[in-house]
Amino acid sequence: MLGYTITQWLFGILSFLSIMFGLMVVFSRNPVNSVLYLVMTFFCIAGHYLLLNAQFLAVVHIVVYAGAIMVLFLFVIMLMDLNQENEPQKAWLIKLIAGIAGGMLLFVLVGSLKGSEQLGLAQYGSSQIGTVKNLGKVLFSEFLFPFEIASILLLAALVGSIMIGKKDIK
C-alpha cells in the first residue's frame, strides 16, 4: 500500500496515536480525562512493543501500568474532586519558564537519540528474544545480578512506603 509495508503502516498509525494521546494528556482541562488519555497512550506503547516482537513486555506493560498504576491514579484523582473552577491559575512568567525548561528537556532527549545507531546494540539470540521463555532465560542467567539489585530496590521502596503510610511508628 503506497510503497509501505503493513508494519510501517502500523508503526505510523501507532506513533501518531501515542503522540496525539500524549498531547491530550497535557491539554485536557479535566484531570480524569487526562488520566484516561494517559491510559490510551500506554495502550499505544504496548502496541509498539508488540511490533518489536516483545509480547511479554507488551502484556506486562498493560497489566502493570494500565491495569494497576493508572487505576490508583484515577482512584486518587476521583477522591480529590478537582474541578475546573478551583484550578489554580499560574502567572505567564511561570508558564514561559516551564515551557523553556520542557523544551530544553526535549532537546536533550532528541540529542541523546542522535548517534545511538552507532552504539551497536548487543543482539541477544534471535528476533524471538521477546518471548517469555527467552526473556526469562536471559534475565536469570546473564543479567541475574542487576535483576536482583532492581528487585531489592523495589522491596526497599515498598517497605519505605509502608513506613510513611503508618500513623504511629513505635
Binding site: 480524569v32 509480547q55 506486562v60 497489566v63 491495569g67 484515577l74 476521583m78 517469555v132
Partner: protein, 351 residues
C-alpha cells in the same frame, strides 16, 4: 487463508453467542436455584418452567425509560457499561473449548486463538475490566456511585495479587507454560491440577468471587449502604449491561477454573471411553464429548457461585481487605513455596 479466516470468524461468533446465551440462562438458573434454596417456586409464568424469563427480562430492560443525569459527563457515562461488556467478552478468546477435530478433512482448532501468553492475556483483560466500573461510577456524579466505584477498584486490585501468585504456582505445576491449551493438555495424562494444587485452587476460587463482585464480596453494589453502588444512576439497558457483564464474568471465570484446575475438556477414563466407542484421535465426536464434559464442569462451578451467594451474608469492608491482604496473600506465597519444593521432588523443575 480464506478458509482460515472464515473458520475463525465462525468460532468467534459461536463463542460470542455461547457467552451471551449462558449468561442469559444463568440469570434464570440463579432465580430458580435461589427459589429452591428458599423453598419457593421461582419464575414460572413465561414459558414452561419460566424458561422464557431471560427474554422477558431483556425486553423489559430495552423498553424502560433511559435517563442520563444532567450533571454527568455524558460520553464517559455511556462508555462505562460498554467497556465492562467488552472486557467481559474479550476473555473468552483464549479458552480452549474442545480438542482439535477433523471436519470435512481439515483439522480445526476449537479455540479462537492459542497465544503463548494466554494466562497473561487473561490477567491483562481482567485488570482493565475495572475501568468500566470506575468510569461509570465517576461519570454518574453521585456520591454513592463514586463510593461503589472506589470500592470495586480497590477490591479488584487487592485480590488480583493473591490470584496472580496462585496462578504462578499453577504454572510451575503444569511445566512452565502460559498457554491455556497446553495447561489443559498436560492434564490429559495423570491427575488434574487440583490434586497438586488444592490450596491454590481455594485461593483462586475466593479471588474469582471477589473479582467478579459476587456475594459475599459484592460490596461495590452493597444496597444496604450505597443504594445501588456504582450503577445507582443507570437505567434501561445500560444497567442491563452492567448486570449482564457480571454473569458473563462468572461464566468465564468458571471456564478458567475448570481449565486450570479440573482438566478442562478432559475427564477421568476418557481414553478408555473413546477406545470402547472406537473413536480415533481428531474425531468430531471426541471434541463434542469433551465439550460436554467441559460444560458440565462450568455448570457445576456456576451453581456453586450461586449457592454461595444465597447462603453467605456479605462481608464488612475492613473484613474484605483483611482477608485479601493478611490471609490470602501470605497463604498464596506459602502455596508457592510448597509447590516449588513438591515439584522439585517430582522432578518437574528444569534448570
Amino acid at each position: 487463508m480464506l478458509t482460515f479466516i472464515i473458520s475463525k470468524l465462525i468460532i468467534c461468533v459461536v463463542v460470542f453467542a455461547i457467552s451471551l446465551a449462558v449468561a442469559a440462562y444463568s440469570t434464570w438458573w440463579e432465580r430458580k436455584l435461589s427459589a429452591l434454596l428458599q423453598d419457593r417456586v421461582g419464575p414460572d409464568r413465561a414459558g414452561p418452567f419460566g424458561l422464557l424469563q431471560p427474554l422477558a427480562d431483556g425486553g423489559k430492560m430495552f423498553f424502560k425509560e433511559e435517563i442520563i443525569p444532567n450533571v454527568s459527563n455524558k460520553f464517559l457515562f455511556i462508555l462505562g457499561p460498554g467497556l465492562v461488556m467488552v472486557t467481559a467478552l474479550m476473555t473468552g478468546a483464549v479458552i480452549p473449548w474442545a480438542k482439535d477435530a477433523y471436519i470435512g478433512g481439515a483439522l480445526y482448532s476449537m479455540q479462537i486463538t492459542d497465544i503463548n501468553i494466554g494466562v497473561l492475556y487473561l490477567f491483562g483483560v481482567v485488570s482493565i475490566g475495572v475501568y468500566g466500573i470506575m468510569i461509570g461510577g465517576w461519570a454518574s456524579n453521585n456520591k454513592y456511585a463514586l463510593l461503589g466505584a472506589i470500592r470495586a477498584s480497590s477490591q479488584m486490585i487487592s485480590y488480583e495479587i493473591a490470584m496472580g501468585i496462585a496462578v504462578i504456582a499453577l504454572i510451575i505445576t503444569s511445566g512452565g507454560t502460559l498457554s491455556l491449551r497446553e495447561i489443559v493438555e498436560q492434564q490429559d495424562a495423570g491427575f488434574a491440577n487440583v490434586v497438586w494444587q488444592p490450596l491454590g485452587f481455594i485461593i483462586f476460587f475466593v479471588c474469582a468471587l471477589a473479582e467478579t463482585n459476587r456475594a459475599p464480596f459484592d460490596l461495590p453494589e452493597c444496597e444496604a449502604e450505597l443504594v445501588g453502588g456504582y450503577h445507582t444512576e443507570y437505567s434501561s439497558m445500560k444497567l442491563g449491561l452492567f448486570l449482564f457483564a457480571e454473569y458473563i464474568n462468572m461464566f468465564i471465570s468458571s471456564a478458567v477454573m475448570a481449565a486450570f484446575y479440573f482438566g478442562g475438556y478432559n475427564f477421568p477414563f476418557a481414553h478408555e471411553l473413546y477406545d470402547a466407542m472406537g473413536l480415533a484421535d481428531g474425531s468430531k465426536w471426541i471434541a463434542l464429548i469433551g465439550f460436554g464434559a467441559y460444560f458440565t464442569k462450568i455448570f457445576i462451578f456456576i451453581s456453586v457461585f450461586m449457592w454461595i451467594r444465597w447462603t453467605l451474608p456479605r462481608f464488612r469492608y475492613d473484613q474484605l481487605m483483611n482477608l485479601g491482604w493478611r490471609y490470602l496473600l501470605p497463604l498464596s506465597l506459602l502455596n508457592l513455596g510448597i509447590t516449588v519444593v513438591v515439584e522439585f521432588f517430582r522432578g518437574n523443575l528444569h534448570f
